[in-house]
Amino acid sequence: MRGRPLLNTIPKNPTRATPSPGVLRSQEAAARQRLSRFATMTTWLENEAVLGYVLMAPALLLIVVFIAYPFSLGVWLSLTDKLVGKPANFIGLRNFTHLFESQIFWGTVWNTVFFTLTATVLKAVLGMWLAVLLNRKMRFARFIRATVLLPFIVPTVLRGLAWVWMFDATFSVFNWGLLWLWQTAEGLFNADFGYFRGPLWLGDPKWAMFSIILVNTWRGIPFFAISFLAGLQTVPSELYDAGDIDGATGWQKFWHITVPLIKPIAVVVIVFSFVITFADFQVVYVLTRGGPHNSTHLFATLAYQLGMASGNLGEGAAVALFMFPFLALVILWQLLYLRKEGNQ
């Protein structure tokens, strides 16, 4: 009735309170129409395919706008000389050839490989060890397990700051501890070792790499330990009893019972952590910002330095894209692996 003058709806005969049959009929029709529209919508949603697409829509929208589109934009940017605030010109593969000629880039490639491999192996080994320890019956088991995860849940950069202060060459724990050891050793052997100079943890390229690996490992161990622990808890204890009866040692039981049984979970955890470590940004940003002399850059921090700090968006995007083929391989392998596992 919208749009019609209001007067029309007032009944002509004031004694009759009910609206005229015509008005009634039109209201009824409108209601029925609304109802049927609702009904068609619900029957529509009864269709599995329609409901499926409707439910997928929000997630897909987010993925298209904030992942798929930025990805193609990133590919385009990497082929341009885009600077912040300037129009982009297509320059083909020049960003990439430029990177191939740069020592900093090759240093970054090497750093990323070394950092990822070392940190992942350390995390897997130490995490496994901690998981086995946590899997024993002990008092306060739940409490201890909960505290172990702490380094993993509080913000990485804030924890990173605590480490920066611990690495401080003059005033802080590591060098103080080393100095203490040095002096104790001097006392023990009754000798003069000379002047002690602690490493410049974050100021020396070798030690800086060591430091970022240490902090990344520290932060990742809880994740490995708790995930492995979840796997360990599914291993039936009868198997260990059987091992005991056969006279197996602790190591033998670990290699022949534990490892094969938690392998499916372990593989997924390791691959997952591999990806995260490979793409790490925060640890390096807080500890060294890629320094000293660009010796600890990973792909992500180099991309940030070129793209954001220096405003060279094209080159930054190109560096970030170097992560892609590698990630694609890992994802593909993981998909195939999961499919294989699923079929078994």
Binding site: L45, P70, L73, A146, T147, I153, W165, W176, S227, L327
Partner: protein, 282 residues
Amino acid sequence: MEARVGETFRKRLIVFYIPLLMFLVALLFPFYWMMVTSVKPDVELYNARNAPFFVWHPTLSHWLYLFQNTIFTRWAWNTFCIATASTAVSLVAGVLAGYALSRLKFPGSTSFGIIIFITYLVPPTLLFIPLASVIAELRLLDSPWALILTYPTFLVPFSAWLLMGYFKTIPRELEECARIDGATRLQAMTKIVLPLGMPGILSAGIFSFTLSWNEFLYALVFISSPQQKTIPVGVVSELIKGDVFFWGALMAGALFGSIPIAFIYSFFVEHYVSGMTGAVKG
């Protein structure tokens, strides 16, 4: 692997207690270090001769500095709002997608599952530069919406993946019963699967909240004015002036930025853990 009969205390000490203790000390020391540093007067902080592990004359001056001379509370509020909103967005999208992928058969459902899995493994560092351009095009730079809308890029795939696994454990028969009783598909979902899936949804929510609370790169790139920053970015960028580190205040900031999330975590440990391990297993 429980303590076995006949295992001597000495052996247990060497293979169990000492390693466990070393792990705990190594994992928790940085927190102790934060705490001690934040209450140390500067005289003690910058004195190389003191044993650095203890504090002789504790002071609250760094805490006061943090709350009075910086806008730390503002950052905390920003972080809280952004984490809550992005978690809500991600849960809605994640629950719907997780349900669709675990329960409904429709053309393309398998490829959607694979898409979700792929995006799950796409790290934020791969896309932040073009994403910054997208955010600029949408005129969202320096607005909390930039983060509320972009955090779901890693939270939605994660939640959907986790919930997909969780919904699969709810017996299909329950839903079929409801359908026979005349419930529509939508009703079967909202009245049967969602209430039963609450533990899984809670896990996804807790995990998403902590991830958004801790996020650093996007907040660093998309937000520039101090007023709009989140705790991690605010502490790192506003409390370090050039090369000058105010260690007392920095550690106080790190401590108070970690406490809320550790507090929330302490209430939901089990959910957090099942979220973490569930997301890995799928």
